[in-house]
Subunit: 458 residues, 2 copies
């Protein structure tokens, strides 16, 4: 049996490895357009500051390492056409330009997501880059070294933009951040967004919200020198990193007749099968189900991609009639966390606004608790907001902010995410038996405290 995997980052390499382990006689090839496979994309912002010292640190496995396990990974190879009926692929070797045909018995599509480019004049100037691939980081670092810009502009106040702002500032640049919406961290509620915005300014990031970049302006040599905002102001910037979002990379699949879902990503069932026979999809290119709403969702994150890759890789090599061994990927909660300077910021499930948009009657409570017993030294405040459904008391979501060191926002979010997975109610959370000792939290965890307040409101 021959398995081909298109795309070799988190989902693709996981699917290939898992398939080979499941079925040692398998012939498996991964095609990856970028020069490295298995890149830890979440680490890219930290290359910009040197927090992660070397780009090689972000390549968790080389093609040689995959080869040792019997998995062929062909980098700098782009699949340009897919014939799902004939089960063939047209593949371009990007080194030589040669186009050749390959065939498969089973196929996993894990083409990932691509950066949304800014649709404004000057967005293709030298010095204006997205940060999606390791090669983007290479270009940013090379530009910074060669041209030594004094100031940088980050466009987009989502988690990537925020991480990039921190890391460019740590590099010694003056950093401005422009976000078209009225606040950064838009997928969070206002309480969290305000804390993040205030922290950015405190750390020295110039923050512009509620305004767009209209144009990038060149210097005399075709490199970016400034951005013009919607109100006419010019912001000097010898380097621009645009983190305005990503979208699923589905062109190849769509052209081959693979059905997309309502989010624009590839539609799959719980086994991660697409509408085409013998074709699975996993990772950032694939849709999943939001487990809180039951509706299709798209959460392009590395850990989820890894989990989906395991399911797709296993299922793709099942024998006929091997249904009993099929794995299922039930869905996602939209859980995430990021660090911005000294703050850890995380969420899971629905924000208050997302709950309302899903037609749910949401009740919320936000509170600040210490991350250790009040009398134990070194505690840091942690803010937690819980969102629950009126009437049923079902937990719908959580958001948290606290200090990276000594705070516990990531813990609050992981507890809440696990509670969402188990469909717990605030009544459950009130009595939840969590681990307490003075160095690790207040006697009643912030989750329990918040649930106790909420239990009087639902």
């Amino acid at each position: 049996m021959r398995l081909v995997v298109i795309g070799g980052v988190a989902a693709g390499t996981k699917a290939a490895s898992r398939a080979k382990r499941t079925r040692p006689d398998l012939e498996v090839t991964v095609y990856q357009a970028e020069p490295e496979p298995s890149i830890s994309e979440c680490g890219l912002p930290y290359l910009l500051s040197g927090t992660v010292a070397s780009r090689e640190d972000l390549v968790s496995r080389t093609p040689e390492r995959f080869a040792e396990k019997g998995v062929e990974v062909k980098v700098r190879h782009r699949v340009e056409e897919l014939d799902a009926e004939g089960k063939t692929l047209a593949v371009r070797d990007l080194e030589t330009g040669r186009l050749f045909e390959d065939r498969y018995d089973r196929l996993v599509i894990s083409t990932g997501a691509k950066a949304i480019l800014l649709p404004v004049p000057g967005a293709n100037l030298e010095g204006v880059y997205p940060l999606r691939f390791l090669t983007d980081a290479d270009r940013i670092l090379s530009h910074a070294k060669v041209h030594q810009p004094r100031s940088a502009l980050v466009v987009g106040g989502g988690y990537i933009g925020l991480e990039v702002a921190e890391n460019l500032l740590a590099r010694g640049l003056e950093v401005s951040l422009v976000e078209a919406a009225d606040r950064v961290a838009l997928s969070y509620g206002e309480e969290v967004a305000e804390k993040v915005g205030a922290h950015l300014e405190e750390k020295g990031v110039r923050l512009f919200t509620g305004i767009s970049v209209e144009e990038f302006l060149p210097d005399g040599e075709g490199r970016v020198r400034a951005a013009r905002l919607g109100d006419g102001r010019e912001l000097e910037a010898g380097l621009v990193v645009a983190g305005v979002g990503v979208k699923p990379e589905v062109g190849l699949a769509q052209a081959a007749g693979v059905k997309l879902g309502q989010t624009g990503a590839i539609a799959v069932n719980r086994r991660l099968e697409t509408n085409l026979p013998d074709v699975w999809a996993a990772g950032d290119c694939a849709e999943s189900i939001n487990l809180v709403t039951g509706e299709p969702a798209w959460h392009p994150l590395g850990d989820t991609a890894n989990q989906m890759g395991r399911v797709a890789g296993t299922n793709a090599v099942l024998s006929e009639g091997g249904d009993d061994e099929a794995l299922e990927f039930p869905g996602t909660l939209g859980t995430g966390v990021f660090k911005v300077f000294d703050l850890a910021v995380g969420k899971t499930g629905l924000s208050e606004r997302a709950a309302r948009e899903a037609g749910l009657d949401a009740v919320t409570v936000g509170l600040e608790a210490p991350s250790r017993a009040g009398y134990y030294p070194g505690g840091e405040p942690v803010f937690l907001k819980l969102i629950a459904e009126r009437g049923t008391g079902r937990l719908l979501g959580a958001e948290s902010v606290g200090a990276v060191d000594g705070g516990s926002a990531d813990k609050q979010i992981d507890v809440s995410a696990t509670a969402l997975w188990g469909r717990l109610t605030v009544g459950d959370l009130v009595n939840l038996d969590l681990a307490y000792a003075p160095p690790f939290g207040p006697a009643l965890s912030p989750v329990i405290q918040a649930a106790t307040v909420l239990s009087g409101k639902v």
Copy 2:
């Protein structure tokens, strides 16, 4: 309506406060034999080193503060008899010695737990103390100041003994620890116990396991000077802290006809009602249900006591026919965490041995993972063991050890505890959507990694 609460630490003060808030016209009195109410007993070890600077820091609310909320707290008052039929109490004012009668309409028993004393000669020598109440800490500190012992002996390798050993060493004493069982941290599996034992020795605690103290030996002035072990060896010790365990304080209740459960603590139903009308019990004196086995359990911990107090306090003041508003306390998981020097050690649910003893067919996996992405600086290894039921795949328990700073053992345990509460299987955990970013963990959380390995074994 008059509510009397016997015992004013975590469960008692919570029950009283909650009852008063629920029913503002309530008359409520708490009797507390110790000189302070509302003591954070979990903080006591940290008084010994000065990590917590002042004993007042551990009194979260004074009687005056309770009085402001309409809750009468009478300290240094011991309830000596309970007539549940006549609904009267005989109360001793420990200051004056006077005995008087009180009456109640509703009663909450929250008499807590008491230290088990060592049944060996010399256990009542000056310089040999348990550590259960704030007054015990006072005695230990006073003895240490006045007599300046050079060396201390801790008896018992449970979490209190371990915390005490750390804090006495931090105070500058030479510390030995004797544990009769073959290892410390006995409620944990061997992997964890070995890590803790090695860490103790690395930090300079002299560790004696598998051997008992036979006798304490006096100096010429009636103070302890040494302990004689089972093999005849003498250990010099000018101060002994015995942390060999606690047992429920149920004498008063039992004499009044309150039924005990099979653990020896007071039997209660989910509403925390005892067998006697209008009598509830909560906190360390009361039994609960182990939610993993469904069997009676006794988990005397401050956070659980607090949660039980809320339930008992609410239910104790319900009007006739107010059943709809009754709260329930479903049970406990035996979750706990403690710090010993640089290690955080936690568990939830059943250990491998406890699972076997409960007649469950347990499958386990233990692994070490980094607490941050491998390429992100500052990560510390965290060990996690998951225990699951063969066949069903249901999670039964978890144990974890990691660095206090930068580790994440407490997070692994809280996620596992929440999963136990939701009765999740390892199949659920494999796909769990937890919060990932490089500064907060590896791409797949240790819980997910361990569950993935386990899913191939159950």
